[in-house]
């Protein structure tokens, strides 16, 4: 019960970070400045980004309470000032969660207060981006010591930022693709896809590189062949399989469906929308597996 609460709260944080940072960043670079699409998007974008930032802030606070409950042994023992104070006072994880909630709160304030769209998107992406980077302190990198501590934190932070930027962009593409034919949002879809394609490739490179560094630091090369039989290894394998499926879908979107969108806008748009939705669904499943993975013991611990 307590463990599954932690998993759920972690997933909510990832989802909030994905929308709050990734989608905000996508809208900023992919939607042409001053376009009709930008105006048409304004309200739905504000709602979605504000919801993402609010989710990230609330889930970060909930994480402190859930962590205190897990450590104290029960919700009744954990939801006390003493237990919550100990998580915040003595753990990097607790302090990082507070900072994250404050940054996400700033992003929310910017979205609600700034009248013009692009500055609000940029401010939200910056604040939520810092909040997203702080998720690195959530896991093993936050607890590690020694000379590789900083490398591990940096690799972890880059990994979550790249993941949020990728999956958040998919959510942003869906915001554009769900509009009707003739809507300016739909008309800008092709432009947005082309903007995303180069950035998407860079994100994949970053994800693979930082993922390898993290795997090396958390699991170690000695377990590379034998670790797959542990629960941690199996969940990690499932995550990698979903990542591979996302790559296949992304390649198909980029090299098949995006050119087709220019040639046959009507029929290709529906196929593209389904494909992006599928890729985003796989991305959400990856986030759920990562949330679960964080509560399992890496295989190095068994020997």
């Amino acid at each position: 019960m307590l463990e599954s609460t932690i998993v759920a709260v972690r997933l909510l944080q990832y989802a909030g970070a994905t929308i709050g940072f990734g989608t905000a960043l996508f809208l900023f670079y992919a939607v042409p400045r001053g376009s009709a699409a930008e105006a048409a998007l304004a309200e739905s974008a504000r709602r979605w980004l504000a919801a993402g930032a609010a989710l990230l802030a609330l889930a970060s606070l909930a994480l402190v309470a859930a962590q205190a409950s897990l450590f104290a042994g029960s919700f009744s023992a954990g939801l006390t000032g003493e237990a919550i104070g100990a998580v915040i006072g003595s753990m990097a994880l607790g302090k990082a969660a507070l900072v994250r909630a404050a940054l996400a709160g700033l992003a929310l304030a910017a979205l609600l207060a700034l009248p013009s769209r692009r500055p609000a998107w940029l401010a939200a992406a910056c604040c939520s981006g810092l909040a997203t980077a702080s998720l690195a302190w959530l896991g093993h990198a936050g607890a590690a010591e020694g000379p590789l501590h900083r490398l591990h934190l940096a690799a972890d932070a880059l990994h979550v930022l790249a993941a949020a930027a990728w999956i958040g962009a998919l959510a942003g593409l869906l915001l554009l693709a769900r509009a009707d034919c003739g809507d300016p949002r739909r008309a800008t879809l092709h432009h947005a896809l082309r903007q995303f394609s180069g950035i998407g490739s860079l994100l994949v490179v970053l994800l693979v590189a930082t993922g390898l560094i993290n795997a090396w630091l958390v699991v170690g090369p000695a377990q590379a062949l034998t670790g797959w039989t542990t629960p941690y290894g199996r969940v990690l394998a499932a995550k990698l399989a979903l990542f591979a499926a996302m790559l296949v879908l992304a390649a198909r979107n980029r090299w098949r469906l995006t050119p087709a969108l220019a040639a046959r806008p009507d029929t290709a748009a529906a196929a593209l929308r389904r494909s992006v939705a599928l890729e985003a669904g796989a991305g959400l499943a990856v986030l759920a597996l990562v949330a679960w993975l964080g509560t399992l013991e890496p295989p190095a611990g068994c020997c």
Partner: protein
């Protein structure tokens, strides 16, 4: 793009060049009295772990299972954060004892364990 590739390359090399400090969850690496040991007497019980603990949530309980009896023990976490030390008001009498420990790690995981020792 190329600069990022170079940085990533450097980072990878740095990671590979150093022996991997593979991480594990908190676990007990030793104790006094040792697990399953028979000792002449004991007034202080020390549990040593592989990594720093979160003091507020790390403790142990002592009992005599044969008598269904809990023995009051005040536990503290040492300054380096890797030991839980329990001090008893008087030395333990002869008998079989059981230690049930709870250790909270900075990675957010709570581990528990149990071992027994005998005074006699």
């Amino acid at each position: 793009m190329t600069r990022i590739h170079k940085l990533l390359g450097l980072a990878s090399v740095a990671a590979l060049a150093v022996a991997s400090p593979a991480l594990a969850h908190t676990r007990l690496v030793g104790s006094t009295p040792a697990a399953s040991a028979t000792v002449k007497s004991a007034q202080t019980i020390t549990l040593t772990f592989n990594e720093r603990l979160v003091p507020a949530f790390s403790r142990f309980e002592l009992s005599m299972p044969a008598h269904g009896m809990a023995i009051p023990v005040a536990t503290t976490v040492s300054r380096d954060g890797k030991q839980i030390v329990g001090t008893l008001r008087s030395p333990l009498g002869k008998g079989a004892y059981q230690v049930d420990w709870t250790a909270a790690g900075n990675d957010g995981h709570r581990m528990t364990g149990r071992f027994a020792f005998t005074v006699g």
